[in-house]
């Protein structure tokens, strides 16, 4: 029993190891893309929320409230069903008949990215607010333009303040990619489900998937913490 279980998740002839590893790679890729989209949306959201125009602030608040308030699975479903319908509609307007659908990777990454962007908005916003005003004024007094000021003073410090919270968001993005299994993307959880169905060993394969998620989270967590230490090396803390 023990040996055969090991062979099943191993890399041998009848082992699922290689497929699971590839699926884990896809999970990691999906998480990275989602996080990157979230970073872009989060930056845009933070700019909106910090804007002096009330309407823009209102849009930013609407974005963060809605996408932090509704379950991720609904967003994924909405993109999955709605995305294909919208694309088909668009293609019909352009004169292409038939049914079109986006790859589930693209849909999933957009959906998770949109949710993660809402959380990242709050992170960037509060990090920016922690920045000392005196430093911005000092930069201006030195004759820095807006771009140089952003690049040399604002961005590095905001990023440093935001990093611990970003680390948490990264962990939750990594876990949320498991939702993409329900829209048919063969990532880690989906591949485990397939293996579990084929071998009738759900406990073994879901357990393996859990371990792989844990390892991915721990390893990336160690990386993020070392970056954090590196960025705060000139500080007393």
């Amino acid at each position: 029993m023990k040996a055969s279980s090991l062979a099943l998740v191993g890399f041998g002839v009848d082992g699922w190891g290689r497929l699971l590893l590839m699926a884990a790679g896809l999970t990691l890729a999906a998480a990275l893309c989602s996080f990157a989209i979230g970073a872009m949306l989060g930056t845009a959201g933070a700019v909106l929320k910090l804007s002096s125009v009330a309407t823009l602030r209102w849009i930013g608040t609407f974005y963060t409230t809605v996408f932090r308030g509704i379950p991720e699975i609904l967003v994924v479903y909405l993109f999955y069903f709605g995305g294909s319908l919208a694309l088909t509609h668009l293609m019909h307007l352009a004169g292409f008949p038939g049914f079109f659908s986006l790859p589930s990777f693209v849909i999933g990454v957009l959906a998770i990215g949109l949710v993660s962007g809402a959380y990242q908005t709050e992170t960037y916003r509060s990090a920016y607010l922690r920045l000392e005003r005196g430093q911005v004024e000092a930069g201006l007094a030195c004759g820095m333009g807006r771009v140089v000021l952003l690049w040399r003073i604002i961005a590095p410090q905001t990023l440093r303040f935001a990093l611990p919270a970003l680390g948490n968001i990264w962990q939750s993005v990594l876990k949320e990619t498991a939702l993409l299994s329900i829209i048919g993307l063969v990532e880690l959880l989906r591949q485990s489900t397939i293996a579990a169905g084929a071998t009738r060993q759900p406990l073994l394969f879901y357990g393996t998937a859990a371990c792989v998620y844990l390892v991915m989270g721990q390893v990336t967590g160690i990386g993020i913490r070392s970056v954090e230490r590196h960025l705060s090396r000139y500080r007393g803390r």
């Binding site: 609904l74 479903y77 909405l78 876990k175 498991a178 939702l179 759900p202 859990a210």
Partner: protein, 227 residues
Amino acid sequence: MDWPFLTRTAGELLCGVPLTLRLAGTALCIGFLLAASIAALAQSRHAPLRWSARIYVGLFQGTPLLVQIFIIYYGFGQVEFLRASILWPFLAQAYWCAILALSLNTSAYGAEIIRGAIAAVPRNEVEAARAMGMSGFLLQRRIIWPQALRHGLANYGNEANLLLKATSLASVITLMDVTGIAYRLVAKTYRSEEIFTIAGMIYLCLAFVIAVCVHMLERYLRPGGRV
């Protein structure tokens, strides 16, 4: 806008609210009890107990909830002694599997919140109470718990909201909560935008109600704030 369709859909989706709330409420209560015990373990004098609390929290925070649900719902059926035990009538039902997974998951996050809240109680107040001759349970009851409760409440309210959202995953193992009903309706009518938007609005409303309740409780617990 197809108003008759929208109102009919809203009516059908609202039928899922009791199940969603029951899942969230039950998991919140069981999860809180578990969380309090784990937080107590994390403070223990004995290192192995502290480690086990750390491992528990790490395991449940480090893996996706969906994987936890699948392990409990599909995986536990494979274990002979579970099938033979008196727990099986419960574990064979999707509802109790969802409750178990949600409770265990939220307890890991709750334990961290409780630990942080207790750690935030000023040391000198504890020392002052000790100097007055308070010890053990009395110290906990009069000094530590009231302050920890006040400190941790906002975070726990946040966790309650995350738990509410997490209940939507129960729809994956066939439960007909708001998300489950929405999915079935979309499969039937293909009108995904309207249906999922209404479902999302229902979750937003529920989250708003929770936030208001937590806020009111916070005001009630503020020193001298009982009005």
